[in-house]
Amino acid sequence: MSVMEFVFIFFGVQIIGSSLVILFTRNVVYAATALLSTLLGVAALFVIAGSDLLAVVQLVVYAGGVLILLLFGVLYTYRAPETYYEKRNSFISILSVVIISGLLMFLLSDLAFNFPELHRPPTDRFGITRLTGYLWITNNILVFEVVALFLLVILVGAGWIASRVMDLNKKES
């Protein structure tokens, strides 16, 4: 087992472990922290896979954006932990994990274990950033623009709906 494999396994365990924490913990804040850990692990995995840009994007957007947002939501709706005591069956959780993962694994096993030997194409020694940017502007420009527009629409719409609803709520109270 080479160093890379070891590193990979380390981060993989981190991911899985953190997600299991989310699965089983009763404290929302603990869960949020575990989510952070998971995201960090995924970012590391991105690096190992050779896309450094994506790792940074992941960290910035996910960990630095989505997570913060989520945290905000958590704190906004925070109640005493006692109220969240749910009689949950852990067995069901494990079972569902096993089933779903098992199924997917089964389906993808052929792909996974019979993957032809491919070599990574040579990349820039500074990473894939320049290449990615170039590709965005040339090959995939349409997608780029469409998605940008799409996002714009979403965000504007969401803000507008929120403001509307805020007005309604104000009228009620």
Partner: protein, 689 residues
């Protein structure tokens, strides 16, 4: 038999002076008709009547002139119209027959016009009387001069139309309207035969010009031709047309009823001219009459002569007696045509025209007097109508109207065939030719001769009866209603306008106009002058003698029964009376044979039609049922399928819905399951491929 129409090129012959004059004679009454028809209402009655009478007078003079001037035949042919290359022509023939006939027709019509001026003065005189008469005279002249069968047919129909208009002139009387319709119907039925004859002749000869047909026909061949020979059939058809027009048995029944018209009309049309038109036509087309057709003509003519004469014995209507007499005499004329004695037939036609017209007009004078008395009573407020024609109510007019009486006696004598009168000559000619015919061929023909002789006797009987009933004895009307006694004693002779025609016609009934020898016509100047050839047979003296004896016996018999008899009012209810009154049930027979089947057929058709309607209803019901079924199909099957599909979706949806209680996670779960299934399919597809 020609399979195709023979193509005949007809040479046109333009009319010479005589023919042009004849054309003028034809057009004069026609113009009178148009003038009086359209302006008659605005002219006073006197001008109307005198204008017509004067025109007739001029026509008579002109036709007399033509008659004297004509020595030979004048034939004129014009082009009428053409269809493609087929030429139709009109023609006119001025010959012995036609000029004589024209003189007779114009003379009698002139007399009738003069008579009508006075006669119609006191009757309902619509302005159409003289126009109709003028139309009739014009059409009659047309028949006389025309030599083309189609033109003759046109005028034949016109004469029938004028007869219809004139018989039904007083159309307010139901009897008159019905009689006019009857006359027209019977004539029309017979005219069908005329059309068939024209068609046959056109097919065989390619033309309807009599001159050309005559030239192409071999009479000797026709005499012995078979029944299938077309020209013979054409001759038969022409004769059948005359059965209607000249009132032969069984189509004579319209003539007695036609007496519902004014008396001058009866005199002109139904005694002298129109009914004689049939005989005249047969004379012109005699060359077409083959062997069996002639026999047919003789037999029917014989029946026609005898049967109506017997009917006249029981008739009380004075004009009807004369009508039966006309039919009977027409039978005599037809018999003569049948045996081939065309000249004898024409002779009798001529003499009959004069004496029958005189008889009608004199009886009309009596009727006029009766009517005058009736009007006098009406104007004094006593409305008790009686039939002015009824002989039972007459009597004793001999003393009151002596001129009329004398004229009646003269023409009566001519009719029954007393020597010194014209009728004797013509009847004698017919009987002699009948005798000749019998001796030539023999067998059953003797019966015809016997029947003819008995007809002579019967004629004498009923005419004597009428003579005694009208002119002798007491005036019987005063026995019914005493008020008339005074009126009768004041009765005078008729107006001169009535008397002059009567007298003139009576004068024509003497012998000297026709033959210098009062007893025999063979040396008659009239015959010689009129005809190109005289075909009268050698004198057979005993036939006229037998006829004279029969006449005398009948006269005595009648005198015994009717001279000064007073019990004429009783109605004898025997077979003879019922047969006479119902025209031997001929009309009943026609009704049963023709009309009833048609009515039954139409009723049957109506019933059939009802069933057809039921069938159509059935079809409609079927379609209604079909549409209902289609509707049900639409509702249950077509819509049902749609509902089924929707229902399946709904049930699937509701099946799955109950597993999702509104939980978001549930939805996610299902999405996951679906995702895995899709993935499964993908993988399986890949491996399969």
């Amino acid at each position: 038999m020609n399979p195709e129409l023979p193509h005949i090129v007809i040479q046109t012959i333009s009319p010479d002076g005589i023919s042009r004059l004849a054309l003028a004679i034809f057009f004069m009454p026609l113009i009178t008709f148009f003038v009086l028809f359209f302006t008659g209402k605005h002219l006073p009655a006197a001008i109307r009547s005198w204008l017509a009478a004067v025109v007739m007078g001029i026509m008579f003079v002109l036709s007399l002139y033509i008659h004297i001037q004509t020595k030979s035949e004048h034939l004129s042919i014009w082009n009428w119209f053409h269809i493609g290359t087929i030429q139709f022509t009109t023609s006119m023939l001025i010959s012995g027959y036609s000029t004589t006939m024209m003189v007779i027709a114009t003379f009698v019509s002139f007399m009738v016009h003069l008579y009508s001026i006075q006669y119609m003065k006191e009757r309902r005189n619509h302005p159409k009387y003289f126009p109709y008469l003028a139309l009739f005279v014009s059409s009659m002249i047309g028949i006389i001069v025309s030599d083309n069968l189609i033109i003759t047919f046109i005028f034949w129909e016109l004469v029938g139309l004028s007869s219809f208009l004139l018989i039904g002139f007083w159309y307010e009387k139901d009897a008159a309207a019905a009689a006019a319709k009857k006359a027209f119907m019977y004539n029309k039925f017979a005219d069908l035969a005329f059309i068939i004859a024209i068609m046959i002749l056109y097919t065989v000869y390619g033309t309807t010009e009599l001159s050309i047909i005559k030239a192409h026909t071999n009479t000797e061949v026709l005499l012995h031709a078979s029944i299938y020979s077309l020209p013979v059939l054409a001759g038969f058809a022409i004769w059948f047309a005359t059965v209607g027009k000249s009132a032969q048995f069984p189509l004579y029944v319209w003539l007695p009823d036609a007496m519902a018209g004014p008396t001058p009309v009866s005199a002109l049309l139904h005694a002298a001219t129109m009914v004689a038109a049939g005989v005249y036509l047969l004379l012109k087309t005699a060359f077409l009459l083959g062997g069996w057709v002639s026999n047919c003509i003789v037999i029917i003519g014989c029946i026609t002569a005898l049967l109506p004469a017997i009917q006249a014995i029981r008739t009380f209507d004075s004009k009807k007696v004369l009508a039966f007499s006309t039919v009977s005499q027409l039978g005599f004329m037809m018999m003569a045509v049948g045996v081939g004695a065309l000249d004898a037939a024409f002779f009798h036609l001529a003499t009959h025209a004069f004496f029958k017209a005189c008889l009608f007009l004199s009886v009309g004078a009596v009727i006029h007097a009766m009517h005058h008395m009736q009007q006098h009573r009406f104007s004094h407020g006593y409305y008790d109508p009686f039939d002015t024609l009824d002989m039972r109510l007459m009597g004793g007019f001999r003393k009151k109207m002596p001129l009329t009486f004398v004229a009646y006696i003269v023409s009566y004598a001519a009719l029954i065939g007393l020597p010194l009168f014209s009728g004797f000559l013509s009847k004698d000619a017919i009987l002699v030719s009948l005798y000749q015919w019998c001796t030539e061929h023999g067998s059953w023909r003797w019966l015809i001769l016997a029947s003819a002789l008995s007809t002579v006797a019967v004629t004498t009987f009923y005419m004597t009866r009428q003579l005694f009933l009208i002119f002798f004895g007491e005036f019987r009307l005063e026995q019914k209603d005493a008020a008339y006694k005074k009126l009768f004693t004041e009765l005078k002779e008729s107006d001169w306008l009535i008397n002059i025609p009567v007298i003139l016609l009576a004068v024509m009934s003497f012998w000297f106009f026709f033959s210098l020898n009062p007893l025999h016509a063979q040396t008659g100047w009239w015959m010689k002058e009129s005809f190109v050839s005289v075909q009268l047979h050698t004198s057979v003296w005993f036939i006229p003698l037998i006829a004279f004896v029969c006449t005398c016996i009948a006269f005595l018999f009648a005198a015994k029964n009717y001279y000064n008899k007073s019990d004429v009012f009783e109605h004898k209810n025997d077979l003879l009376t019922s047969l006479s009154e119902h025209n031997y049930y001929i009309e009943r027979g026609i009704d049963l044979a023709f009309i009833q089947p048609v009515m039954r057929l139409s009723t049957g058709m109506f019933i059939v039609d009802k069933y057809i309607d039921k069938l159509i209803h059935l079809k409609v019901y079927f379609f209604i049922v079909l549409s209902q079924a289609a509707n049900l199909w639409d509702i249950f099957v077509v819509d049902g399928l749609v509902h089924l599909v929707a229902g399946i979706s709904r049930s699937i949806g509701s099946f799955f819905r109950k597993y999702l209680k509104g939980e978001v996670q549930g939805y996610f779960y299902f999405t996951l399951v679906a995702f895995i299934l899709v993935l499964l399919w993908f993988v399986w597809y890949q491996t399969a491929a």
